[in-house]
């Protein structure tokens, strides 16, 4: 029964991902696009939860949904008037974009579909389970499979980004 429930759950999440992704890039109202993006990101977080990565799902919601999308919405509100719609796409542009995306879909989809590995690999129950202690020691350790240096680099990047954002966007 559990597996049936999880399949239903999976179907809902995947449907949300696909539908909202497509809506994100096809709607002509920019604020709606941001909202659909938010839904897509939520669905992605749901996928992470399904795969037992609760922490990652939480980060996804907090940073992506809570941070980035809010930032995007703010900037949309700053740069456009309510009710603005982008002009209709020219057919040439649409054909070009469709060609690119369909071509990549075809090539990569065929690559996935043709590999039997992809259809015979199933999720294994994790033996150790997810452990926050492990995560913490990985982020702040210096040994093998430990990421103190990237952690620090990202922190510096974020600091630089904050300063840069302030400098670029402030009123002169």
């Amino acid at each position: 029964m559990e597996s049936v429930g999880s399949i239903v759950m999976y179907s809902i999440i995947v449907a949300a991902i696909i539908i909202f992704s497509i809506l994100t890039v096809t709607t002509r109202r920019i604020l709606r696009a941001a909202t659909y993006l938010l839904f897509t990101l939520f669905a992605t977080a749901g996928l992470y939860f399904m795969l037992d990565y609760e922490f990652l799902g939480a980060v996804q919601i907090a940073v992506y949904a809570g941070g980035i999308v809010v930032l995007v919405v703010f900037s949309i509100l700053l740069t456009s008037k309510p009710g603005d719609t982008s002009s209709k796409l020219t057919s040439k542009k649409r054909v070009v974009g469709l060609a690119a995306s369909v071509a990549s879909l075809a090539v990569l989809g065929y690559a996935i579909a043709s590999r039997c590995d992809f259809w015979s690999t199933f999720v294994k129950p994790s033996e150790t389970g997810f452990d926050m202690h492990l995560l913490g020691s990985m982020l702040l350790g210096t040994g093998k499979y430990q990421y103190l240096l990237p952690f620090e680099a990202v922190s510096v990047l974020l600091l630089a980004c904050i300063i840069g954002g302030v400098v670029i966007a402030r009123k002169r």
Partner: protein, 104 residues
């Protein structure tokens, strides 16, 4: 849950990626382009996580990559939006077709 092969997780990610490509190429509003970019990044994140979970369930490398990718995406978005706001202030427009003053 045991019935679902890895391909069923990768294919939505692929579709999401293709949507991002389509949006990136066709949209004219810079923020819309940024949103498409986020879509693409997100699909890659899903791939990292899925492969980590399916192939190396005892390790967390894919998740770590996703974490860092999210952090960097946040930084990139913040910076991009700062630039967009600044451009908007300068030319009152963020349509990418009109931003060609410095082209030639």
């Amino acid at each position: 849950m045991e019935k679902l092969p890895i391909a069923l997780y990768i294919i939505p990610s692929l579709i999401m990626f293709c949507c991002g490509v389509y949006g990136f190429i066709t949209r004219k509003n810079m923020i819309a382009i940024l949103i498409s970019l986020e879509l693409m990044l997100n699909s890659v994140d899903i791939n990292f996580v899925v492969f980590n979970r399916f192939l190396y369930p005892g390790q967390l490398e894919g998740m770590m990559f996703t974490l860092f990718a999210i952090a960097i995406a946040a930084a990139e978005t913040a910076l991009a939006i700062a630039i967009i706001v600044n451009i908007f202030r300068a030319v009152k427009n963020i349509d990418i077709r009109d931003l060609n003053k410095m082209k030639f």
